[in-house]
Symmetry: D2
Subunit: 355 residues, 4 copies
């Protein structure tokens, strides 16, 4: 078990990057070893040694020295000089696609929060239109990638050199469905519906017409119907076909949090106890999932935590169920899960620094 | 065609009642004939001639005389004395259940916004546990009731003495599904999912743990899974069985508006044009429904209007569709539809006073 | 009194422009004569006869023909051809500055919603840094401008050719203070504080870091301290010196509405009745101001109305008062007041089309 | 310096109580010694050993044993049996008033979050109308109370047996003004204005008309003008007269956070540097205050932290300033400050468990 190590973060300017910075700065194993923050920095800022992190995220300011942390110009040499061992990428997928092969060559371990390396099927990757799609390098890199959901792939993550950190919606839906699928209970012929709703931070930090307060507030809208990028992750990780699930994301007028309402049919009538047992067993060793035996989870209970909360209600017939799955899109749906992956990768306690 | 007439409103203290008051006060056909507002009034308020309406709803204040309107103690004699011809009930269903038979006996026409008289099947009414269930009077009254959705029952509403104004969720889901059902397109064997989300005004004006700002804000929660009262309306009006639809309401952190995301399968592959034609034809004579041919509707476009907005997206296979249906729960979902029913009942233009 | 006339609107794409469109389209005097909408239009849109208004503002869609309205490329010739008599400018102040002299030359009457022509003192205009500051044309035009607050300048507005429609914050503060100032009650030596809070629509439609949902929601921030552009209007209209008032705007996490909390000292002890009389008398002929004798106004009561609501509370000493002034920044603070000015200008009822 | 000790919390059901529970449960010095939670518990709950804390506050659930914590029926015997040394009261002031004398007699140290013991002047206490006002016991108890603001009374807190934890608004205003007052800079003859705005959690957990989502959302309202209970704390702690400050609280449509905008006059012209130095010096040893030298603080930067953020802007004349002070009303304004007081009282690091 590694005592500690040096991390770096590229992409700290976004919402997930800011959460990642916060988590790593207070992680008990990384005390006194703040991440190296790297990215695009203009000349005039490079000249002053980088941009103070608290200019970018004033909420990171505390009276314990974070005032000295800076976003420095990215270079492989800088990472070398600082002895970086694990590189977090909270960058756009194009960037991750470009950087990861080089990082692996240089012996870095990478935890990539983008969608660059999550999908093993070319058909599912098509929606990203990667420039290097089909190249040998891309294939080699993809082969090294482990889908970073500890609840499904704990042992493979432990030895991985490249973690493809899951999408926020994907995490919410996969955790709810995988246990039922693995238990062979689902009647796929009648189709699954995953109706998901996310807070605005999921839409990114760039000011756009859709992230304008006047658009998002007092509103609700569906988008990406039959075409959202996270769909491929659902298919591959749950193990179902494209026609067996309908996934619709919505933009909620709240800062953060995802709630997915999932509708399934069972092959045979179930009882509340039989379904509860499936979830209990599946997540018995998973400290970051909370199964609700009685009530249904709500967004307010998971926001600012790394928990995924799952509950369900059964139709009187026992043949249908509505499952509700909640998480914080910036934590269990992004930065928190990334740190959870770091913990598993290094043999640390899975929930360390996440409570 | 009636020139004008005298209305009365019971239940003006709630949100739907307030909207109803606003609409009736500015209705072109009712100029100079404000509704009589009746309800429970304490002695000390009765002594001063009732409670000024603007003490109850300050937002109704204008500089045109609304300051003189009052909520007066309910009595049949008062309604007689004022020559009331149409009585709106925005009261709890128990109240509507108790008052409607007497009102009909006295020759009043009634538009009831509660759930008291919407359901023709005893099994569907069970969820309300009406005290007079099974009585002859209840059966006679129910037989007179017309479900007040002009898009489905325009001609029957015209002659009705008792209008059962539909539920807010029901309106949203029925308008989206009825055209497809009537056209015989739906594959019911695979089930319909109606995932509905409503603003907080739908939960009523009583301060409760669930309507507390701290509960509702920055949150989303599902409720009434497999058991919401509006389900019976869906079954009866769409003409489907209880096992053929799963309906889940959610509480949105916004004041008003409903968006329903509805998932259907078709018996045969459809095109965008074929589905669009079904909707266009069905709503050709319906001024209060807006069909979106290209985009999907959003809550922000219907709030504070009486429109129901409907749009859809088709799966590439043509065999599945996601339909999005939006309305303002206090208008098309309550008070606005009530006024629309009044218009139809009296032979006025259907959208009069609703634009 | 003019029966009707042809209007045009430049700047319909913004929030105030959209409200203006809505108001003019339903104004009883303008039935059947929708405004000509003009602005910058790209070639490809010009080629299709302009941009349909409902593509820009879907919420304007109704089933009464608004679908045919279009934003057309601006030209003086088009305005001539359509017989435009009154031109509304909901454009940036630079645009208004450039267009107004030409419009007046061509005999158009102009109601300008920007800050271009509100200020008579060069010192107060300095904050705008107008390019044509000091030119003869600018001076001539300014001399024709009437500050468009009917409650203060009703008779001059009636004959005006150029109305400078007031700022939203300014309207809120001036209406609260002018009556007390005119009555000679204020002790200016102790200073006035105007602490104002506005919804996000006041920050404009452009997506920026400050209008991002993640910035505005769950937040409150002060800005423009000792330097907001609306300050000059306060000084000129109330008739006080820059050191006699401190005005601080704040960005509220709501779509619309302004509440100003104003702190004053009186030269002599007042009673509640003496202050109330001052307000009653001052606004006796002003249908768009509601004076609250007992309670204090709140934003929720003015939103989506053209009312300015004013109330106050007196210190037991009678020497200090807190005045609360509310309005909807897009209506009484912009488009509504513009229509009110149109009404006054043309001798129509002041509140026509505004209820 | 005490190694650790046993705490108890009365009043865990409210918002401040929940935050207090969260802070104490994760406090490094209290690991393995969770507080004893006491309060009113019905017979049937007492029979099952009290109410599980996670039934009251589901968000406290984690996978580390909080599921076993319970709210137990209050009794002095229970506190004795558990060896409680410090009792936190997050109870209504009447309760605190009744319990504190007995607690002190029994040798407990008390940190009281209510307004019961904050005020030394009878005139300022009048607004509370305490039943035991004027009694010898009350006077004796009051004499033992220390106003729990470490930035002002650090050394007295260290030895105190009874801490009167400050009000949320009071903390926000006092921290902004005390440094300037202590430095003798303020011109009180022109009056101070403190315009404060608070999130809804400040209004308490009871569902009321004012805390209903429909009242608070999309709204802003002033209340308690010239009469809020926190005023007395301002007078006593800052050392000014009632006529020298006007304090107006407002209800913001956000869950938590306070921003106070404070207007002062100086006796002599100041520079930005001279004022900044006053704040720097005053808070040099105060880890929980962040002074903003350049920007102004905003609510979003303090929410969910125990920091009080203070910034200011100076009028060009140097004679007037606007000071902006922000904090989280449930943390630095309540539970966080209570833990800060615990730390100071026991000689622990002042910010321990608060970062």
């Amino acid at each position: 078990m590694t005592e500690t190590l040096q991390t770096a973060v590229a992409g700290v300017t976004g919402y997930a990057g800011a959460e990642l910075a916060r988590l790593l700065l207070r992680h008990p194993r990384l005390k006194g070893r703040p991440p190296v923050f790297v990215g695009r920095v203009e000349e005039k800022d490079a000249a002053r040694g980088g941009i103070p992190l608290i200019e970018i995220h004033p909420q990171l300011a505390d009276n314990n020295g974070t005032g000295n942390l800076r976003l420095e110009p990215f270079s492989w040499e800088l990472l070398d000089a600082r002895g970086v061992e694990v590189l977090f990428l909270a960058t756009p997928h194009e960037q991750s696609r470009a950087w990861v092969p080089e990082a692996l060559t240089r012996g870095l371990r990478v935890i990539d929060l983008s969608g660059a390396w999550r999908l093993t099927e070319a058909a599912n990757r098509a929606v990203y239109a990667f420039e290097d799609e089909g190249s040998e390098q891309a294939a080699t890199t993809q082969a090294l990638a482990v889908y970073g959901m500890p609840e499904l792939h704990r042992s493979r993550i432990a030895g991985a050199r490249l973690i493809a950190n899951p999408g926020c919606y994907s995490t919410s839906v996969i955790l709810a469905l995988k246990p039922l699928m693995a238990a062979g209970l689902l009647d796929l012929s009648r189709g699954i519906v995953a109706d998901a709703k996310s807070g605005v931070s999921g839409a990114g930090k760039a000011p756009t017409a859709k992230t304008h307060f006047m658009y998002a507030a007092d509103n609700l809208s569906a988008y990406g119907v039959f075409g959202h990028r996270h769909t491929g992750e659902l298919l591959e990780q749950i193990g179902i076909g494209a026609n067996e699930i309908a996934f619709t994301p919505h933009l909620l007028p709240i800062p953060r949090g995802i709630l997915s309402t999932i509708y399934v049919h069972f092959q045979q009538a179930q009882t509340h106890a039989s379904i509860a047992k499936v979830y209990h067993d599946f997540f018995a060793a998973s400290p970051m999932v909370r199964f609700y035996d009685k009530a249904l989870p709500q967004i307010q209970y998971v926001v600012r935590t790394n928990y995924a909360d799952i509950g369900f209600q059964l139709d009187p017939s026992g043949r249908r169920s509505v499952i509700v799955s909640c998480l914080d899109n910036l934590l269990k749906g992004a930065a928190g899960q990334a740190v959870q992956n770091l913990n598993v990768m290094l043999g640390w306690s899975e929930s360390e620094g996440l409570e």
